[in-house]
Structure formats: C-alpha cells, structure tokens
C-alpha cells in the first residue's frame, strides 16, 4: 500500500477526532449554564454542605478546571490535552481523572459490549446468510424471523422486560450488580461462573434486539451475492452446498458486513448507557449515565470522545485490513 494512501487515511482519522472534539467542546459552551456551579448545587441541595461561602469554593474550582480563561484559549488547551489523551479531571469524582474513570469502567464495557456485539454479529450474520440461502432447510431459514421482529424492541425495553419476567417473576437470574455482593474478583472458576450469571440478562437485552439488524443486512447482501454469476458457476462446477456456502457466498457477503461492525459500536455503546444502568454494571455506559446526571461534563465529553476515537480507529484499522480480505481493493 502506498504511503499516500496511508497518510490520507490517517489524516481522515485525525479529522474525525478533531470534528468530534470540537462539537463536544463548543455545543455545551454555547449554553449559558455553568457546570461547576450546578455540580455544587447537587451537593448543596441535600443540605450536605454547611452554609460555607459556596461562591468562593466555586471560583477556586473554576480556576482549577481552567474555566476562567477566554474560550479560544480553553479550546487550544483542550485540543492539546486531547492529543495527550488527557481529558482532565472528573468534576464529581475529583481527584480522579476522566482517564481514570474510563480506565476503571472500560473492562466491564469491553467485557459486555464486545462479547454481545460479537455474539449478535456472528449469530445475525449466520442466520442472515442462512435466511437468504435457498438450499437451507425451511425451519433453519425461519429461525431468523423472530430476531427480525425483535429489531423494533429497543434494548432498554428489552432489559426492562427481561428484568421483570426473568428476574422478578421467575427469579432465575440475579437482579443486578457485576457479581455477587461481597465477592472480590479473582481468577477462579467460581468467580467466573458468578460473573457470567450476572451478565446473562444485560447481554440478552443487548443481543436480542440487535441480531435482527445483522440478519437483515446479511440477508440483503446474501441475496445480492447469490445472484452473482460466480455463485452460479460454483454450482455448475458441482461443488457441494457447504463449500459454496462457505467459500463463495459467506466469504463475499461478509466483507461489507464487517464495515458495519465498527459503526455499530456507536449504537451499542448508546444502548449500554441504559442497559448497564438497569443492571447496575459499572461500565462506560453507567459512568456516562451517572456523569449526565451529575452534569460531570469532563467525563461526558471524555467518554463521547473516547468512543468516537475508538470507532474512528476501528474504521481506520479496517481500511487497512480490508485489502487483506479483498484482493480487488488491494489492487487499487
């Protein structure tokens, strides 16, 4: 691959990050609200703060967060900080930094989201491929239908329903938390089982609704590919159905599907905001949700930016991986 292309893709990546940071920086600052004051309001309102001179405290915090400088200066400083992956301090969990907050919640999110995304991607892709494959047995092809119907169910609602029916009513699975109360994480089998038990419902809430999307895109792709002459010719060659399915059909249809994967991450994270909260999981979603409630803007922006960067990075990586998968692109 030539250097120019690499450079262009990297430039694109930088542009995405820049655009996201700029939006995230300016939008909230267009409103006349003052996050630090509001934050102290949250503390003061329960009477928790004694009648101290809150204003002084606020002024001192403003300075600490650099909010007393002119907007443009703040902006340059902010861009510089982002370059160093430094999103500043969390307002509500001071003296934790945003990076700490993200680092602490990330493992949970990666654990949950990545696994569910991969499961729903794999499941959806296979079901979608099968649904579009005329030679598959009818019952197998129709297994995709319920998932397609479930695409209309937002993960939040799915989570609420699962929690109600399986958690409250049937009492089959724990109602929340990342693992049982009082257990400390260890590298043991029993901890793993306990952990998994707690992840099933949140995972299902995310998976059930999203499989359908993959089914649909794969089905559409599959139908297109199926009409391709090379699939027909493969059949003329007398290949077995399995081999055609795998080498000629699945493999070709998969390529565009993979692009969707990076983009899906954005949607999935958003779903996680509510689902993690619903089940009391301490992931990025919960961190974001809590930050929204506490108006902890450095954390909000940090997380939004972090996710954007992650997606952009994934997309950029895919651009480099793509040619390895598709020789046609390699040629150009």
């Amino acid at each position: 691959m030539n250097i120019r292309i690499v450079a262009r893709r990297l430039l694109f990546f930088v542009l995405v990050v820049w655009a996201a940071s700029t939006i995230v920086f300016f939008i909230p600052r267009l409103s006349p609200r003052n996050a630090i004051r509001e934050r102290f309001g949250e503390l003061a309102r329960t009477g928790g703060f004694s009648p101290a001179d809150v204003e002084k405290l606020i002024a001192s915090m403003q300075q600490q967060f650099g909010l007393d400088k002119p907007l443009l200066e703040q902006y340059w400083q902010y861009l510089g900080n982002i370059l160093r992956m430094d999103f500043g301090y969390s307002l509500s969990r001071y003296p934790m930094t945003v990076t700490d907050v993200i680092a602490q919640s990330l493992p949970w999110t990666i654990g949950l989201l990545l696994v569910t995304t991969v499961i729903s991607f794999v499941l959806g892709t296979i079901l979608g491929a099968v649904a579009a494959w005329p030679k598959a047995p009818g019952w197998l092809r129709s297994t995709a239908t319920p998932f397609i119907l479930l695409t209309g169910v937002p993960p939040v609602i799915m989570g609420i329903l699962l929690l109600f029916f399986i958690g409250f009513r049937l009492k089959w699975l724990p109602l929340g938390g990342a693992y049982s109360v009082g257990i400390v994480p260890t590298w043991s089998w029993s901890f793993f089982i306990d952990l998994m038990e707690h992840q099933i419902l949140p995972a299902l809430s995310l998976i059930l609704g999203s499989v359908g999307g993959w089914v649909l895109s794969m089905r559409g792709m599959g139908i297109t590919i199926q009409g391709e002459d090379y699939v027909n010719f493969a059949e003329h060659k007398g290949l077995t159905g399995r081999r055609i399915f795998r080498d000629y059909y699945l493999r070709n249809a998969l390529l565009p599907q993979v692009t969707g994967l990076a983009l899906a991450l954005g949607t999935v994270v958003t779903s996680a905001v509510v689902v993690e909260g619903l089940f009391g999981l301490p992931g990025i979603g919960t961190a974001l949700n809590l930050a929204i409630r506490a108006n902890d803007f450095p954390v909000i922006y940090g997380i939004v930016l972090f996710i954007t960067i992650a997606i952009a990075l994934l997309m950029t990586l895919l651009e480099f991986v793509y040619p390895l998968l598709d020789p046609r692109i390699r040629a150009n």
């Binding site: 694109f12 995230v24 937002p154 954005g266 905001v273 954007t308 997606i311 952009a312």
Partner: protein, 281 residues
C-alpha cells in the same frame, strides 16, 4: 398492481397495516378523548385497567388511554418532523454533491464521512443535556434529533444520484435540451422516490428511537405524555415492584409496535428500491 405487490412483500404489508392501525387509534382517540386526561391529576390514581379506564391510570393520575393517544401523536409528530427535516436536508445535500461534483461534492462528502463515526445519540444526549430544561419541547426534541441525522440520507442519495447521473437517459435529456434543474427534478428525482421513501422511513425510525432514548434518560419534555417519558416515570416510581405493571408495559408495547412496524416498512421499501433483493421471492 400495488395490492399484488403488497401480497408478496408481506413485511411491507404488515408494517403498513400496523402503522395504519396505530394512526387510526391515534386519530379516533384524539377525536373521542379529552387530551387533558393525558396529564397528571386528571383521573383516579393507580387504577389497573378496567371498564372505566381501559388502559388503567398511573401514579400521577393520568388516564393512560388518553396518555397513549396523545403520546402516540407526539411521538409520531417528532418522528415525522425530525425524519422530514433529516431527509429533506439529506436529499438537497445529496443532490448538490452528486450533481455538481467538484469541491461541492468534496466538501459535503468529507463532512458526512467525518461526522459518520461520531455516535450521534451521544451527541444528542450532550446537546439535550446542555439545553435549558424549559426549552425542551416536542419541537426542540425533534430538532435535536434531526441535527445530526442527515448524513445517512445524504450519502445514500448522493450515491444514487451519482449512478443515476451516469445513466444514459440523463445524457439523452441533455441532448433534448433539458436544463440542469429539469434533469434533477424531472429525470432523476422521480426515480429516487423509493430511495427517498426508504430514507425517510429510516429517518423516522431513527428519530422515534432517539427521542425515546432521550426521554428514557429523563432528557425529554417532562410533562408531556411522550411514550419514553411514561416509561421513564414508571421506572422512577418503581412501577413493577409496586405492582403497577400496566404503566410501563403499555408504552413499551406501543413503542415496540411503532418501531417494529417502521422497521418492517423500511425493509419492505428496501426491497422495492433494490430489485436485487426482490429477485428471491
């Protein structure tokens, strides 16, 4: 012809049927029901579904039947407004980019591509969160949702216009002395109607979903009986635990119906717009 097509495209048919049924429910409801009943303290409290209150009432004394009617209407309003704006902006930009090419195209395309990886819902949350709460109304809600929703349609329409533009009937129209505008509106646009319709339905789906999401996070216009708001209120009052199951379940199922129907229609329109998909049936 259309009917025969609908019989084959079952998803589209079912989707349209559900939407029509919901629309009917809403329209008849708005005619028959006093919309005031959709607001707190207008009915007995916490009543399970009964003859008097077919859908029950909630903790705050809303008649949930009225709330569902008004909420459905508001949800539809947000969806149509935001979807309409997103699609309209997308169509205009898509046409501009594809038809005039050059730097216009370069700029529009680059902006779209740069904005695409940014998780829209999160940005919407940031925007909704930094708005003054008093400014959050049904309309601002639609605007927030529409704000970052035009990139998808823009890219789709652009791609379609680009292929359309290369189609020979455009060349022939030029030879027939048709102007640029004539070509855009009379030759290309009509052929893109299925795509525009599909984009529109997709946008409406996205808008309904996003507004629902914002409401569930407590960022919606609070007093309004938006479906997301009702679920949010039920959640924060511990409705399930207190045995008021009908309160969250009704808006949840309404939401599922709306989104499901939109998904089906979208799928069906895809099939219509993309004859390759049609080929299997």
């Amino acid at each position: 012809m259309t009917l025969r097509y609908l019989r084959r495209n079952k998803g589209l048919a079912i989707g349209i049927a559900i939407i029509l049924a919901l629309a009917l429910f809403t329209i008849i409801g708005l005619l028959v029901i006093d919309p005031k009943k959709a607001y707190p303290l207008s009915a007995a409290l916490k009543q399970p579904p009964s003859l008097k209150y077919p859908f029950g009432t909630d903790f705050f004394g809303r008649d949930l039947l009225a709330a569902m009617v008004v909420g459905m209407w508001q949800t539809a309003f947000i969806g149509l407004l935001a979807g309409g704006i997103g699609t309209a902006v997308g169509v205009v930009l898509g046409f501009l980019a594809a038809y005039f090419g050059g730097w216009v195209d370069g700029t529009i395309r680059t902006i779209c591509q740069i904005l695409t990886p940014i998780p829209v819902l999160l940005i919407q949350v940031v925007v909704a969160g930094s708005l003054d709460k008093r400014d959050v109304t049904i309309v601002t809600m639609a605007m927030i949702v529409a704000m970052l929703a035009w990139m998808g349609p823009t890219l789709v329409i652009r791609a379609q216009v680009l292929t359309m533009k290369e189609r020979q009937f455009v060349a022939v129209a030029k030879l027939s002395g048709v102007s640029d505008l004539g070509i855009i509106f009379k030759e290309i646009l009509p052929n893109l109607l299925p795509f525009i319709a599909a984009a529109f339905v997709g946008q409406v789906f996205g808008a309904v979903f996003a507004s629902f999401y914002l409401a569930v996070l407590g960022l919606g216009p609070l007093r309004e009986p938006l479906l997301g708001n009702i679920i949010w209120a039920a959640q924060s009052q511990g409705a399930f635990f207190n045995g008021w199951w009908w309160w969250p379940l009704e808006p949840a199922f309404a939401m599922i119906l709306i989104l499901g129907a939109l998904a089906l229609v979208n799928m069906g329109l895809d099939e219509l717009a993309n004859p390759r998909v049609r080929r299997t049936e």
